[in-house]
């Protein structure tokens, strides 16, 4: 099947392996994306288990390693690679420059903006970002928007962790929007 082959030949990079990134990586692996590269510096903490794709057995381990282990079990045909480093203004271009599709999955809005600005200026990547999925207001408010020529933003654009709790359902809805937009781009669809 043509679609399956396209996805198998595709490569996607993900910045962040938290609530969005870990769930997006799993969805892309289940969808048969050939190569997935993820960057995260953090270790799995008990407070992550309410929304991130990890379990008790992963506590204290690097998220990248814990995710690699799970992805291998879910779909061993995925070529899953990772780097366990913090993404900063100094390394962001070097880390992601060879990827045509980059998924922004950080939690800190300053890092979201840093990644988007740098990659849109210094690379040719298209970015699928997440913004606004905290709290428990209507899931119907989470949408995919095409905000710039190479930037898609998924979320309700306003529900901040600063003033809301953060829970699995809306994080998963947003992650689903991002994963779906990535698959759409890989299959030649560019509308949100």
């Amino acid at each position: 099947m043509k679609m399956k082959r396209k996805l198998m030949q595709a490569t996607v990079a993900i910045a962040g392996a938290g609530g969005l990134g870990s769930n997006i990586a799993v969805m892309l692996a289940r969808s048969g994306i050939g190569k997935i590269f993820i960057v995260d510096f953090d270790i799995v903490d008990k407070s992550n288990l309410n929304r991130q794709h990890y379990s008790e057995e992963h506590l204290g381990r690097y998220k990248t390693e814990a995710l690699a282990e799970q992805i291998t079990k879910i779909n061993p045909s995925v070529n899953f690679t990772y780097k366990t480093v913090k993404v900063t203004e100094d390394n962001v271009v070097e880390l992601f420059k060879e990827y045509k599709i980059v998924c922004e999955a950080f939690d800190n809005p300053i890092y979201k903006a840093m990644l988007v600005e740098n990659l849109l200026i210094k690379t040719t990547a298209t970015i699928v970002s997440g913004s606004g999925m905290a709290g428990y207001s209507s899931g119907n408010n989470i949408q995919t928007y095409k905000k710039m020529s190479r930037l898609y933003v998924c979320g309700d654009l306003e529900s901040d962790i600063a003033s809301n709790c953060i829970m699995s359902p809306r994080v998963q809805i947003c992650a689903g929007h991002q994963a779906n937009m990535i698959i759409r781009l890989l299959l030649g669809e560019d509308t949100p």
Partner: protein, 64 residues
């Protein structure tokens, strides 16, 4: 000028930096596209906005 998809009137000779400040954006949390070009933060003060411009400001919120 078209700002985030809507037609608005702007003052003459207003800089992008001033516009961002007047609209209460937190500069560290935004990305800006002007006429399909991404503008780096250090350039905001050098860009004068015009009526014919198309400006998109994306402001990120926390959580993920």
């Amino acid at each position: 000028m078209i700002y985030n998809g809507k037609q608005i009137n702007i003052e003459e000779n207003v800089t992008l930096a001033q516009f961002i400040q007047d609209n209460n954006y937190d500069i560290k949390k935004i990305a800006v596209e002007l006429n399909l070009n991404i503008i780096p933060k250090f350039e905001y003060k050098n860009v004068i906005l015009k009526d014919s411009d198309k400006l998109e400001v994306v402001s990120f919120v926390g959580g993920g």
